[in-house]
Symmetry: C2
Subunit: 200 residues, 2 copies
């Protein structure tokens, strides 16, 4: 990542115009327990951040390649004529790269919780397409079933990258599982705008 967060268009982490999560920090802690979160994960997630920091572009290449290879996934980045919107893909890509580092390095406080909610809104029809001013999108919403399903590829494909800096298999495994838990936790948070009243 050559850019600092402040220069990434649409990246509003910690800013006043970011949505405020309807969940409390107490509820977040309970959700952390549900994904088996431990203090050790904290430490290994930070280590993962160091391991991944200079591999962000390669990871994004892989993830974008995966999406691009499946028309039923690429759809969410196409225009009403079915063409991929290059500016949209590129704008999201920069925030996605920053997200990898944020996942590893940011403390899970109120700002963090709020930005999780914001990311949920941006996948949901509440805010999809707005941040990057996409006016001709084919799709008003990323379907929830894909949001949940992506926990698998976003976790599994990371392992090879975690193994590339000479850590022992045991250490790679701990970083990998801290990452798995962190992604699952976040996707569970992102689902909120999709869910019927009282069912979240």
């Amino acid at each position: 990542m050559s850019t600092t967060p402040a220069t990434i268009p649409g990246y509003t982490y910690g800013q006043a115009d970011t949505a405020r999560s309807p969940l409390t920090l107490e509820e977040l802690r309970q959700l952390e327990q549900a994904v088996l979160w431990t203090p050790e994960d904290e430490q290994y997630l930070r280590q993962a951040g160091d391991v991944l920091a200079d591999q962000i572009e390669a990871i994004l290449d892989l993830w974008y390649g995966f999406v691009a290879a499946h028309p039923h996934l690429l759809r969410y980045f196409t225009d009403a004529q079915g063409q991929p919107i290059a500016e949209y893909l590129a704008a999201v890509r920069r925030r996605f790269g920053q997200w990898i580092l944020d996942t590893c390095r940011r403390p899970r406080d109120q700002d963090w919780l709020n930005y999780q909610y914001e990311i949920g809104l941006r996948h949901h029809r509440t805010k999809k397409n707005q941040t990057d001013h996409v006016t001709n999108s084919a799709t008003p919403v990323v379907p929830l079933r894909y949001l949940v399903a992506f926990i698998a590829p976003i976790t599994i494909t990371l392992r090879d990258f975690l193994a590339r800096k000479g850590h022992s298999p045991a250490e790679v495994d701990k970083m990998y599982h801290a990452w798995f838990k962190a992604v699952t936790l976040q996707v569970a948070l992102w689902c909120q705008p999709y869910v019927k009243d009282g069912d979240y």
Copy 2:
């Protein structure tokens, strides 16, 4: 598992009174692609079934112990006075045991898809508490955020059991990842009743 499916109360897999999934098999196949499903996973999931078959009670002990250790999770099995409902826990436990084997062994056809929808309804307020005739439940619904979060513990805790039958680390890893994908796929399906119209 000493009982055959037909004798498990409330287990309606493949029966006419089971709900019919609103999703098509074509949509299921697309969701499988999203979790990186491959034919190799099929094979390793079956192998996992063989490895787990005589460990079901030990797995359930672990999972129930995890839920029981957290009041904010146990709640969903308690009555309005806050007491765990023993009959409810026991009845669900038998179907949960069967589910482990079904996950590994059942072909993912229309009956399978329908029962996924049924399990979603049973966690959701549409059908929670009905199958076991629980009339004094503290909770009308298992919140969606916990449903998604549980992908982590239901996956991670299985690995030790997969490693107990002398398979190589590489084989255990393949069984483990097939299981991870299968759980993620199912939870993505179970979410449907929770989601607002058009957002699923």
